[in-house]
């Protein structure tokens, strides 16, 4: 009876996951969708704790389970609440890694358990009960969970480190070949383990575990930091598949539905993200931002640029009819969204029409800028998407670029040799005047020079975005 209730709970939870995901993909219902999925998850977790049983034996070790849940909940909530808006992407990556590690740990414990059964007479019982295929299937699934979970864990940790700046891009000659070799080695060992099931199977198992971790590290290390969102999304779908392996293992429908759902949706989302940047997934994974393109780009341009003083910039903007602000990662780093909103209000009060041009991949993740500006109460109608913004630029007097770089780089249109060639950009050059705020002349995340800075229409305004905006506000007030 209780077990039947649990089946119903799992069914309900699976439905909330599907509905939740559906609602998450529409702006108006997204928040509710998240809550719906969370409710389903809570139901499934408590249902499992209290109602799950295996051949009549209920679960034990409640103390451990609740202690684990409590520790995880407290740490998770605190971490998620305290994290700064700019650090959200790396937080997602970190949590994703935790899920991957969890799946890998489950596989380790289950394999150890299986080996103990094999040592005794357990194997005979297992064989008789489910047929010889059962053992084979079990080992395959445990191994899949282990490999995918470990790769996802290690990869997510690297992505996390890269986004918070503690790890740098790292690659060596022939790394692609090395990675493929490593992958073949893992698969080969796994196949051998499954087919032969040697006496020292545990040793093989741990070697596969170690190699999978290694593969995860080398898989993400050479990929450029700007591509991390895509990688995180891909690893996210990996973890989904790893979770689904757990579903196979325990014949647990909710793990299976949730895992496969995320695996499929995550893969599609990865492809959609690539499309937003106009790049293919292979291009991201093999790494177009390799050493050879960077040297090619460094050789060109390096003309002279001109600077503009704060007071001049203030005057130019105060007497403009229309100003477009292009926010980028620099704005996020400097936490300048509130100052930015203030400048916008001040200019609007002076009769200037102000809008924000949001490139789909401005910042570190799609939607990053929208979230940031929304936090500062910038009104929704002022945020223009790329196509709308590009229609506005010809009638714009001043474009103020705040810490954005690659998304306004004209090389994406004109230079086929550029690594970002083909990426749709904001055509800021159509405006009468472009003011670029940057901390220095250093190239952006893609590591390439931006020709825009050397164009006659462009003037540079160096400094931290927040500081510059605050000074601009003072100047605009005085002018």
């Amino acid at each position: 009876m209780e077990f039947n209730i649990l089946s119903l709970i799992y069914l309900l939870a699976s439905i909330t996951f599907i509905v939740g995901l559906k609602m998450l993909s529409h702006p108006t219902s997204a928040r509710k969708g998240n809550a719906v999925a969370a409710a389903g998850m809570t139901l499934a977790i408590f249902g499992t704790i209290f109602l799950y049983n295996e051949e009549g034996d209920p679960l034990g070790n409640y103390g451990w389970i609740f202690a684990g849940l409590a520790v995880g909940s407290v740490v998770g909530t605190l971490a998620a609440r305290r994290v700064k808006m700019t650090a959200m992407p790396e937080m997602v990556s970190l949590f994703n890694g935790m899920g991957g590690a969890c799946a890998a740990l489950i596989s380790i414990v289950e394999f150890d358990h299986l080996m103990h059964l094999l040592d005794g007479s357990g194997v005979v019982i297992l064989m008789l009960a489910d047929g010889p295929g059962a053992l084979l299937g079990l080992v395959i699934i445990i191994l899949l969970g282990l490999i995918i979970g470990s790769v996802s864990f290690a990869g997510s940790m690297v992505a996390w480190g890269k986004l918070n700046g503690s790890l740098r891009d790292f690659s060596f000659r022939g790394q692609q070949a090395f990675n493929i070799g490593l992958l073949f080695l893992i698969v080969g060992l796994a196949v051998y383990l499954v087919v032969a099931l040697p006496a020292n199977a545990l040793l093989f198992f741990y070697v596969i575990f170690a190699l999978s971790i290694l593969y995860g590290l080398f898989f993400v290390f050479p990929i450029g930091g700007a591509d991390m969102p895509v990688v995180i999304s891909l690893l996210n779908s990996f973890t989904g598949v790893a979770a689904a392996c757990g579903g196979f293992l325990y014949d647990n429908k909710v793990m299976l539905t949730g895992g496969i759902l995320v695996g499929a949706a995550g893969t599609l989302l990865t492809i959609l993200m690539c499309k937003a940047m106009n790049r293919s997934l292979t291009n991201v994974l093999i790494g177009a931002f390799g050493g050879n393109t960077a040297t090619a780009a460094a050789g060109q341009s390096q003309g002279s640029y001109k600077e503009i003083s704060l007071s001049d910039a203030a005057v130019v903007m105060s007497y403009a009819n229309k100003v477009m602000i292009v926010p980028g990662y620099g704005l996020a780093v400097a936490q300048a969204q509130h100052a930015c909103h203030e400048l916008e209000k001040l200019l609007t009060a002076k009769g200037v029409e102000v809008g924000y041009a949001i490139h789909p991949v401005a910042g570190r993740m799609p939607g990053h800028m929208n979230v940031l500006l929304a936090e500062a109460d910038v009104s929704y109608e002022k945020l223009l998407e790329m196509e709308q913004a590009n229609e506005e630029f010809p009638t714009t007097d001043v474009v103020l670029i705040l810490g954005a770089n690659d998304v306004v780089n004209p090389a994406a249109k004109s230079d086929p040799a550029s690594p970002i060639y083909g990426m749709p950009i904001l055509d800021v050059e159509l405006a009468k005047h472009v003011i670029v705020n940057k901390r220095s002349m250093k190239p952006g995340y893609a590591g390439i020079e931006n020709d825009l800075f050397f164009r006659p229409k462009t003037s540079m305004l160096f400094g931290d975005a927040k500081k510059v905006l605050q000074d601009l506000i003072t100047e605009v007030k005085n002018s």
Partner: protein
């Protein structure tokens, strides 16, 4: 080889779920605007935290003297909970920004 066929036969229901869920997963987020990519990824990240259920089962089945299973199971429960709770809270925080924007406009 026949054992593999047997295995497939015995687990047909599960295999059907996998195939259908792949299509549902793709269908369900097909028309997401790029603004929502990040929250959607974060939400999906929280959902694959269902792996916690596996961790709970491992933990609950562990014999009291199997310290490896107890320790690893406990770690798995903690990590899984982090994934679930942290994932949903972060997603909610991101989306909170969006809903505030809706009100003020």
């Amino acid at each position: 080889m026949s054992s593999v066929f047997n295995w497939v036969h015995e687990h047909q229901a599960i295999i059907y779920i996998v195939v259908l869920m792949i299509f549902v997963g793709i269908e369900v987020i097909g028309s997401v605007p790029s603004v929502l990519h990040t929250p959607l990824m974060s939400g999906a990240n929280a959902i694959h935290g269902v792996v916690i259920i596996g961790a709970i089962i491992v933990m609950g089945k562990a014999e009291a003297d199997n310290y490896l299973a107890l320790a690893l199971g406990f770690l798995a429960v903690v990590l899984g909970t982090l994934n679930v709770v942290g994932g949903f809270v972060v997603t909610d925080r991101m989306l909170e920004m969006f809903s505030k924007k809706k009100k003020s406009s």
